[in-house]
C-alpha cells in the first residue's frame, strides 16, 4: 500500500487541499487554519486523510441524500462537484465550516456528476433457442407436407 510518510500534519492537509484545486501557496496558507478549525492534532498520516475524507462524506450525505454509495464514493462525489465548481477559488476552506452556505450548496448540487442514475433492477432471462437436429427438422417438414397432400 502506498503510505503517506510526510511528517507534518500541515503538509498532509496542504497536499490534501491541493488535490481539491488549491494552489500550492494557497494550500500552505490555508492548511494551518483548517488544521486548527477541525482540531486535527490527534490524527496523523493516513488517518488524517481518512478523517478529512469522512468530513467530506458527511457533507456529501447532507447535500445528496439520495446517493446510495459508500463513504469513499460520497467523498469522490463531492470532490468532483467541488473541483468542477472551482470551489477552491470560490469558497476556499468554507466547505469544512459547519454553518450552511446556501449558495455554495446550490452550486455544488448543480456541479455534481453521477456515473449513472440509481439502479432500477429488472430481470432479463436467457430465452430458449431450441435447435432440433437438422435431420429431424427436415423429416418433420417432409411429414407435414405428406400429411397435407
Amino acid at each position: 500500500m502506498v503510505t503517506l510518510t510526510i511528517q507534518s500534519a500541515d503538509d498532509i492537509v496542504g497536499a490534501y487541499l491541493q488535490t481539491l484545486g488549491f494552489s500550492a501557496d494557497e494550500a500552505a496558507r490555508s492548511a494551518p487554519s483548517l488544521h486548527r478549525l477541525l482540531k486535527l492534532n490527534e490524527t496523523v498520516g493516513d488517518d488524517l486523510v481518512l478523517h478529512m475524507d469522512q468530513l467530506l462524506a458527511q457533507k456529501a450525505a447532507d447535500l445528496f441524500p439520495d446517493f446510495s454509495g459508500s463513504d469513499k464514493e460520497r467523498t469522490a462525489l463531492i470532490k468532483t462537484a467541488y473541483l468542477r465548481a472551482d470551489g477552491a477559488a470560490r469558497w476556499g476552506i468554507d466547505l469544512w465550516l459547519k454553518k450552511k452556505d446556501k449558495k455554495m450548496d446550490e452550486t455544488l448540487k448543480k456541479s455534481v456528476l453521477f456515473g449513472a442514475p440509481a439502479m432500477c433492477l429488472g430481470a432479463m432471462e436467457p430465452q430458449p433457442i431450441e435447435v432440433p437436429h437438422p435431420t429431424s427438422f427436415f423429416l418433420k417438414k417432409v411429414r407435414l407436407l405428406k400429411r397435407k397432400s
Binding site: 488535490t19 467523498t75 469522490a76 449513472a116 432479463m124 430465452q127 432440433p132
Partner: protein, 681 residues
C-alpha cells in the same frame, strides 16, 4: 399479443408482396436453371454437370433475389409510399416516455465517440424534447489506458453538455457477451427506467429529428419492438471508403426500400441506429449460450439478427423504415479493415445456421438468417462455380470428345455446347447485378434540385461507372477473403473480437503483401492456365484475374486519403451530405476539434494519480462499475512497486495492462498517490 393483431395491414397484401418478390426469384431462377442445364457441354462428366447446375442455381437465386427486391424498392421510391402498417405522427407531437441513448464502446477512440454524443445532445436540446433523453456510454474496454481516456473525455464532455440531458458513463469490467452483454447489463440495471432505447455504435451519428421521430413512433405504435433507421455512411476520406459511401448513398435507398417492401413488420435489426422497446427486449431478447463449441456454439456473436428474430417470436413487430433519414455511420477506411470486419460478421452469420432451424421462429426471420448466411456463403459458392467451370473447360482441352464410342453407330456423337446460351446467361447475371445500380442512379438524379442539375447528373453517372469498375476489381479479392473466412470457420477456427479500425491509416506495401500475396499468385496462375490451355476464356476470366493480380496496388491505392480527396475534387463519389453537410455532422466535427487536445493525450494510471478531477471522477465512477476483475496478488504488488518508484524516484511506470487495471480498482491507493504527487510537487 397475437400475430393477428400486430399491426394494421391486410395480411393478403402482405403475403402478395412476399409472393411477388420470392415468386419472381424462383421463376427466374428456374428458367435460368433450365437454360443453363441445356447449355452445358454434353461431354462433361455427369457429376460435374450436376455440380455446375447446383452451383449456378444457388448463385443465380442469390442474384435474382437482390434484383427483384431492388426493383420493387425502386417502384416504391417512385411512388413515394410509406411502409404500410406503421402509424406516423406529426413532427411536434410531445413525448411522454423516457428514452435512453446507448453508446456501447470497446477500446474505441473516445474523442470521436464523445464528439458524436455531444453533437446529438445539442441537436436534441434544440427540439425542446431533450429532457426525455439520457445518454449512456457503456464501456467494456479492456485496455486500461483507453478506459481512463474514456473517463477523462466523459469529464471533459460534461462541460459542453446541455443542461437538459444527462451523460452517464458505465464501465463493465468483465463482459463475455460483448455488445449484447453490455446492453443486457444496462437493461437489467436501468432498463426499467425507460420506455425505449436507441442503440448506437461507436461511429453512429443520428440527427435529433430522426431520434425524436423514432421515439414518437414507438409511443404511437405500441406493437413495435424495433424500428431500424437505415444508416448511411459519411465522413469517408480514403478512396475505398468513399467508394463504399457513394455506393451506399446511391444504391442503399432502393435496397432498403426493397427490403421494407416485403418485410413490412417482420424486418431485421442491424445492431445500431435503431430504437428498441425496452420491455420487449427484456422479455424476449436475453441471449442464451448455444450448445457446442465455437465457432457454431458458445456466445451468440451476431446478436442483432437473433434479437430481431426473438422479439418477433415474442409477438412484437420489427420495422425497417427507409423514410427515416439522418442516420449515419462510418465505413472501414481500407479494404483490409473491411475484410477484417467481414471476418467477425462472417463467423456471427455462420453461427446462425444453428439458429435458423430453431423452433417457433417466424418464417421471415428464417429468411433473414438465410440472407445473412448467404451473403458470405455466396463467395465460396461463386469460387467453386468458377473452379468447376474452369475444370470443365480444361477437361475439354485435355480429353478431346469421343465421336465414335465402342457401340457401332452410323453417326458420330457430337458434343453439344450451347455457347450463345451460356454467354446470354452470363450477360443476364451481369444485368441483374448492375441494373439496380442504374435504378439507384435514376432516383438520385431525380432527387437533385436547384441549378446545375445536368452537371450533377453527369458527376453521378461517371461516379457510378467508375464504382462499377472498382467494385468489379475488388469483388474477386473479397470472394477470396470470404471464402477463406468460411473455410476457417467450418474447420473450427474461431475469431477474436478486436476493435474496429476507424481512423484513416493507409495500407503499406508490407501489409498489402502480407494479406494479398496469395491472391496475386492465384491470379497469375489462373491467368497462365487460361492463356496456355483455354484461350477462349481469357476475356471472360479477365475481370477476375485482373482483380486478383492487381490486389496489392488496389489495396494500397484505395487506402489513401489523398486519392480520396483527389477524387472528391474531381467530382467523383461526392454525396449530397458532403455538399450540404447536415447540422449534426458539422457539430460532431466541431466537438471533435474541441475535444482533440484531451483525446490526443496519453492516459493511464499516471493521469489518475496526477489529475485532481480525474482522480475524483475515477473513484466516483468505480461506484457504479461492476465487481473488479480477478487480480492476482502479484499483479497488485508489482503495480504498487512501480507506482512507488514513480512517486519517489520519478521512474516511468511502464505497467502492464493487468497491473494498471489492478491499481485502477484500488481507490485508496489512487487517492493517496495523488496526495503524494501534490506534496512532491
Amino acid at each position: 399479443m397475437t400475430n393477428k393483431s400486430l399491426y394494421l395491414f391486410n395480411p393478403k397484401q402482405l403475403w402478395a408482396r412476399r409472393i411477388s418478390v420470392f415468386g419472381l426469384m424462383l421463376i427466374s431462377t428456374f428458367l435460368a436453371g433450365v437454360k443453363w442445364t441445356m447449355s452445358l457441354p454434353t461431354d462433361a462428366a455427369l457429376w460435374l454437370r450436376i455440380l455446375m447446375i447446383g452451383l449456378f442455381i444457388l448463385t443465380f437465386a442469390w442474384i435474382s433475389l437482390f434484383f427483384w427486391s431492388s426493383l420493387f424498392g425502386f417502384i416504391e421510391l417512385l411512388r413515394h409510399r410509406h411502409v404500410p402498417g406503421i402509424e406516423w405522427v406529426p413532427a411536434h407531437t410531445p413525448l411522454t416516455r423516457r428514452v435512453a441513448l446507448l453508446m456501447p464502446v470497446y477500446n474505441e477512440a473516445p474523442g470521436s465517440v464523445f464528439a458524436h454524443l455531444l453533437a446529438m445532445a445539442h441537436e436534441l436540446d434544440k427540439t425542446g424534447q431533450a429532457s426525455f433523453f439520457d445518454i449512456y456510454v457503456l464501456s467494456d474496454t479492456t485496455k486500461a489506458d483507453v478506459w481512463v481516456a474514456e473517463e477523462a473525455l466523459w469529464l471533459e464532455a460534461q462541460k459542453y453538455m446541455p443542461d437538459s440531458i444527462r451523460l452517464f458513463f458505465f464501465f463493465l469490467p468483465k463482459n463475455t457477451a460483448r455488445k449484447s452483454g453490455n446492453i443486457e447489463d444496462f437493461c437489467r440495471k436501468w432498463g426499467s427506467l425507460y420506455e425505449s432505447m436507441v442503440v448506437l455504435d461507436a461511429d453512429s451519428l443520428m440527427s435529433a429529428s430522426t431520434i425524436v421521430t423514432m421515439a414518437q413512433l414507438m409511443e404511437k405504435n405500441t406493437h413495435a419492438g424495433i424500428i431500424q433507421a437505415p444508416p448511411m455512411m459519411v465522413n469517408s476520406r480514403s478512396l475505398f471508403s468513399r467508394v463504399q459511401q457513394f455506393a451506399g448513398k446511391i444504391y442503399g435507398p432502393i435496397v432498403s426500400a426493397g427490403l421494407a417492401f416485403w418485410q413490412v413488420g417482420d424486418s431485421n435489426y442491424w445492431g445500431h441506429n435503431a430504437i428498441i422497446r425496452v420491455k420487449a427486449f427484456m422479455d424476449c431478447c436475453g441471449l442464451p449460450v448455444l450448445p457446442g463449441k465455437a465457432p457454431f456454439g458458445g456466445m451468440i456473436l451476431s446478436h442483432d439478427f437473433v434479437e430481431a428474430a426473438l422479439i418477433r417470436r415474442g409477438g412484437w413487430s420489427a420495422w425497417l423504415l427507409p423514410e427515416l433519414k439522418g442516420s449515419y455511420e462510418e465505413c472501414p477506411p481500407t479494404l483490409i479493415d473491411y475484410a477484417a470486419r467481414d471476418r467477425r460478421w462472417c463467423q456471427g452469420n455462420m453461427q446462425h445456421m444453428k439458429i435458423l432451424i430453431s423452433k417457433k421462429l417466424h418464417p421471415i426471420s428464417r429468411i433473414h438468417f438465410t440472407i445473412g448466411i448467404m451473403s458470405y456463403l455466396s463467395s465460396p459458392i461463386w469460387l467453386c462455380f468458377l473452379v468447376v467451370g474452369l475444370a470443365v473447360a480444361l477437361g475439354r482441352e485435355f480429353f478431346p470428345p469421343v465421336y465414335f464410342s465402342n457401340v457401332r453407330t452410323l453417326f458420330p456423337t457430337w458434343p453439344i455446347f450451347d455457347k450463345i446460351g451460356t454467354i446470354s446467361l452470363l450477360f443476364l447475371s451481369l444485368f441483374m447485378l448492375i441494373f439496380p445500380k442504374f435504378l439507384g442512379l435514376f432516383i438520385a438524379i431525380g432527387q437533385e434540385r436547384g441549378r446545375y442539375r445536368i452537371r450533377k447528373a453527369w458527376y453521378l453517372t461517371k461516379s457510378v461507372c467508375v464504382e462499377i469498375i472498382l467494385s468489379a476489381l475488388i469483388a474477386p479479392v473479397m470472394m477470396m477473403f470470404q471464402s477463406r473466412f468460411v473455410f476457417e470457420i467450418f474447420t473450427g477456427h474461431a475469431v477474436s473480437w478486436n476493435a474496429q479500425q476507424r481512423d484513416d491509416q493507409r495500407t503499406t506495401f508490407k501489409t498489402a503483401l502480407h494479406y494479398h500475396w496469395g491472391h496475386t499468385l492465384l491470379g497469375i496462375v489462373t491467368l497462365a492456365v487460361v492463356v496456355l490451355y483455354v484461350k477462349p476464356l481469357f476475356w471472360w476470366m479477365l475481370p477476375i484475374t485482373a482483380g486478383l493480380i492487381l490486389s496489392i496496388p488496389i489495396s494500397m491505392l484505395t487506402s489513401q486519403a489523398q486519392i480520396g480527396v483527389w477524387a472528391k475534387r474531381h467530382h467523383f463519389f461526392v454525396i449530397p451530405e458532403e455538399v450540404h453537410i447536415p447540422e449534426v455532422i458539422k457539430k460532431a466535427r466541431r466537438f471533435a476539434q474541441i475535444l482533440a487536445p484531451i483525446a490526443h493525450q496519453t492516459f493511464g494510471v499516471e493521469a489518475v494519480v496526477t489529475r485532481n478531477d480525474l482522480n475524483a471522477a475515477h473513484i466516483l465512477l468505480l461506484s457504479v462499475n461492476g465487481p473488479a476483475p480477478a487480480i492476482t496478488h502479484e499483479q497488485l504488488q508489482n503495480a504498487q512497486l512501480k507506482l512507488e518508484n514513480y512517486l519517489n524516484h520519478h521512474v516511468p511506470m511502464n505497467m502492464t495492462n493487468e497491473e494498471s487495471v489492478a491499481l485502477l480498482y484500488h481507490p485508496e491507493i489512487l487517492e493517496r498517490a495523488l496526495i503524494l504527487t501534490k506534496r512532491a510537487g
